[in-house]
């Protein structure tokens, strides 16, 4: 397999003046596993499209330079020729599967190449074997999970027999279980079959131990290109770009007496270095007390009482009893299909439970009365862009007010809108089209328009999906600021455990439609073996803490700072 050479590639989209890629020059050796990362808008997705030949053949714009695979100039080849050398897998598996059954999807490419039937059969079998999907060969695609669908998309790409696989954020729409499934497949393709993998991803923490090389981009340029261990020599660069540094690396920098100049990139490495040290003993001493629960004498603001939910014969929720207290930030976690979104949708009145009831304060929530419910409870959908309908930011605020129920509008709504615009820092964009705002601004606008109706409680469905670490952090800090200033309660559905660990005051784990665990994050993340049953991986630092305490810790650190705090407070005590 030849090397992949990105030779001084620059690209400017047809509707833009600014180049997205600026003279990118990289050589990727055969059999390498390379991670491209960087803040949103840095050009990494554009680079992925250029690698796969979709730029310039299918996307309008001006391209300079070329991509070479060995001596073949990819940028001048037909797309069907390129796809037999370089395959591309996109973010959302549902958008890239055109057929109904697994076998038909994988066979689609070889059929179009008019290959002999025996070869089509052989390619289908081999591609499905590579991704561990053989047992699903005769299944219908709709019956697959998100992770399985993405593995199928990889299989269909592999059926074209490329030697390089380019993946553009293939796990961003997947739950932790699906993410692990896809990453395992990529590792196997790389290590076992020697395939070159170019992966564009934000999830550095989960990937760093698997890749051979990390390339970081910013404003269309490559700003870092190193092996994983050397990639963190300049942590300031990562922080400046808002790309998170793995917790284990941060810990190593904070404990130079243990790690010296080495950079551990796996939990195992950090565990080996810390095991038996005074730090491990200090942790064991200081990890035995449970966190105090909230004052349970207060009245809950939202309750699910003996709630069952079924879609026809399929039971989704079983006897759920759950109370949300005022000003709590409750994270609901669990694998896909565990019932998280169904639970939240019942509270908003999107559907009725098959048994039991949901109460907001003293009022029973009636299914179907969504706009009535919206006066007291807001729901931030995963795709915030779907929540914007106005021609300008100001009209966006007026949307619900003009069309909403009478009697729910404040007399001094104009002042309120001004105040909200100031809060979300959009005053200067009053007459701007919402879709001309940045992604973070649109997200802030989507939540602030919901606040015009004075809700007490906000349901946040995957609020950080598809955003890089910097934008996710900024948005969550904004939510924290809102909560502290206006005393909101949050119910957040999330797969991002680091965000959950950092911001939630309580975690509810759903498993197969039942409340499996309920407690403070420090205590919940200490039970990593039970969480593994639900397909949940605690943040790396929490896993390390639990392992160093031989899984006897009752509470664990959720951040590097709190891990260090545990160490130092134990030292002070002793």
């Amino acid at each position: 397999m030849p090397d992949l050479h990105i030779d001084k590639v620059s690209f400017t989209y047809a509707d833009s003046q600014e180049p997205v890629l600026r003279s990118i020059d990289v050589v990727i050796s055969e059999g390498e596993f390379v991670l491209f990362t960087g803040p949103s808008g840095c050009g990494k997705t554009t680079l992925a499209l250029a690698l796969a030949g979709i730029i310039p053949s299918r996307v309008g714009g001006h391209m300079q330079g070329s991509v070479y695979l060995g001596t073949n100039n990819v940028s001048t080849m037909h797309i069907h020729e390129i796809s037999q050398k370089i395959g591309i897998v996109f973010q959302n598996p549902d958008n890239q599967l055109a057929q109904l059954s697994v076998e038909e999807e994988v066979a689609f490419g070889p059929e179009n190449l008019a290959l002999p039937r025996e070869e089509i059969v052989e390619r289908v079998q081999q591609s499905l074997r590579y991704t561990g999907m053989e047992q699903f060969r005769f299944e219908q695609i709709y019956a697959l999970s998100g992770g399985q669908k993405q593995r199928l998309a990889i299989s269909a790409t592999l059926a074209m027999r490329p030697s390089v696989l380019v993946l553009d954020e293939p796990t961003s729409d997947l739950d932790p279980v699906g993410t692990q499934e896809v990453l395992n497949v990529l590792r196997m393709l790389n290590k076992q079959y020697g395939m070159t993998i170019v992966l564009v991803e934000h999830k550095v923490d989960e990937l760093i131990s698997w890749v051979d090389r990390v390339v970081m981009m910013d404003k269309g340029r490559i700003v870092l290109d190193h092996s994983p261990r050397k990639a963190f020599n300049d942590i300031q660069l990562w922080n400046n770009l808002g790309v998170s540094v793995p917790q284990i690396v941060m810990l190593a920098r904070s404990l130079p007496d243990v790690f010296q100049d080495s950079t551990p990139i796996t939990i195992d490495e950090a565990f080996e270095a810390l095991r038996g040290t005074r730090y491990a003993k200090a942790l064991q001493l200081n990890s035995q007390s449970l966190n105090a629960r909230d004052d349970l004498s207060r009245s809950p603001i939202l309750c699910w009482e003996s709630v069952d939910l079924a879609y026809g014969p399929k039971q989704v929720l079983y006897d759920v009893n759950l109370n949300i207290m005022p000003e709590e930030w409750v994270a609901i976690i669990g694998s896909n299909g565990s019932g998280k979104t169904s639970l939240a949708s019942l509270a908003m009145g999107f559907q009725a439970p098959t048994r039991g009831m949901i109460r907001y304060k003293d009022r029973v929530i009636k299914a179907g009365n969504i706009s009535l419910q919206a006066a007291e409870m807001a729901y931030l959908f995963q795709a915030a862009d779907n929540m914007l309908f106005g021609a300008t930011v100001e009209k966006e605020f007026m949307f619900g007010i003009r069309k909403g129920r009478k009697g729910q509008v404040d007399a001094n709504i104009a002042q309120k809108i001004d105040r909200l615009m100031k809060t979300v820092d959009l005053v200067s964009y009053r007459n701007t089209n919402p879709f001309h705002l940045s992604h973070g601004q649109r997200k802030r606008l989507a939540i602030s328009v919901l606040l015009t109706r004075n809700p007490q409680i906000l349901i946040l469905d995957e609020p950080t999906t598809g955003q890089d670490e910097g934008h996710s952090r900024a948005f969550l800090q904004f939510l924290q600021f809102l909560r502290e200033s206006a005393k909101y309660s949050y119910v957040m559905i999330s797969h991002h455990m680091q965000s959950v660990a950092q911001y939630a005051s309580r975690i509810v784990v759903l498993h197969n439609g039942r409340v499996f665990m309920d407690g403070a994050p420090e205590n919940i993340f200490a039970r990593r073996n039970e969480l593994a049953q639900c397909g949940i991986l605690p943040p790396s630092i929490a896993q390390l803490h639990a392992r160093l305490c031989e899984d006897k810790a009752v509470r664990v650190a959720l951040s590097v700072q709190s891990f260090l705090h545990y160490l130092h407070s134990a030292e002070v005590t002793s």
Binding site: A52, Q84, A98, N112, M160, M348, L450
Partner: protein, 322 residues
Amino acid sequence: MINQFFFQSLFGRTIIGYLLIFAVPALLPFLFVKLIGFKGLRHLFSYEPKQSIIHKLDPRIKVIYPVLMGILTVFLNWDFVYILVAFTIIPWILLRPSRDRLRVIVTMAGIPVIGAIWSQALFHTEGNSTVHLLFVFPPTLTWMGTPGLSSTGLLYGLQQAGRTLAAVLAALILLFTTTPSEVVWAFYKFRLPAPAGLAFSTALRFLPQMIERMTILLQVVQVRGFDLTIPRWWEWRKWPGYLGRVFACIPVITIPLLIGSLRTTSVLAMVVDARAFGANTKRNTLREHQITVADRIAMASLIFLTIIVAILVITHIGNRII
């Protein structure tokens, strides 16, 4: 007394007249929502996997079938059209669709039929002198431009409905039992442009996703305060406002729906290009359909039916009188 009020007095006859004009058309969307609902929309035209004889039939026969039935119904007069309708029920008996799908079929076939019959009953005024009116509209309803509800119209509507019914029942067989790759294969074998087959089958493949997206958008507008709560039937004062909001909502959700669909389509177009679709004039398939006994019987039945119809038309026994 009541009889006299409703059938003799101008006021009573006006009430009956309005009911006849509006009750049935108003009932149709209500029936549609009740029988199918928003969630049912996603199954409206989607493939239902099953191991039936109909599923295993040669896809080419299933592509020809609705086209042929559509053509045959045009030539036949109405009593023979209903024999054709009876013929289109046979595949459904062999298919044994699930209850959910049965509800979709009955709704999709039944609602246009009721609509056709009723509209003809009201407005079919051909040969006015022979029109037999079941109910004569009072002078207060002259603005409708029709003398009343006619039995001739009902009969004519029934004839027209037979044609719709046969075509719909045949088309749904294709949609419910043929996968996108089979449609593409059939188009390729007929030397029709394969991209047309892919466009047709992909549209059907993504319809459930589009309906899912529409459901979410409807939830979003309500979360944003747009009141779409259906008033109770006795809350008549709220109905005009509700209907106004429903109509105002249509453009609001259409734009994001279209944008979302176009984004999906653009990714799919890139994927299909990358899978070399259309790159070669020739194409092969994983599975070559082997002609089975069932295919031969189905094909023979269609040929036999076509010959019978041709004879009926040529001999002026069953041809349509225009």
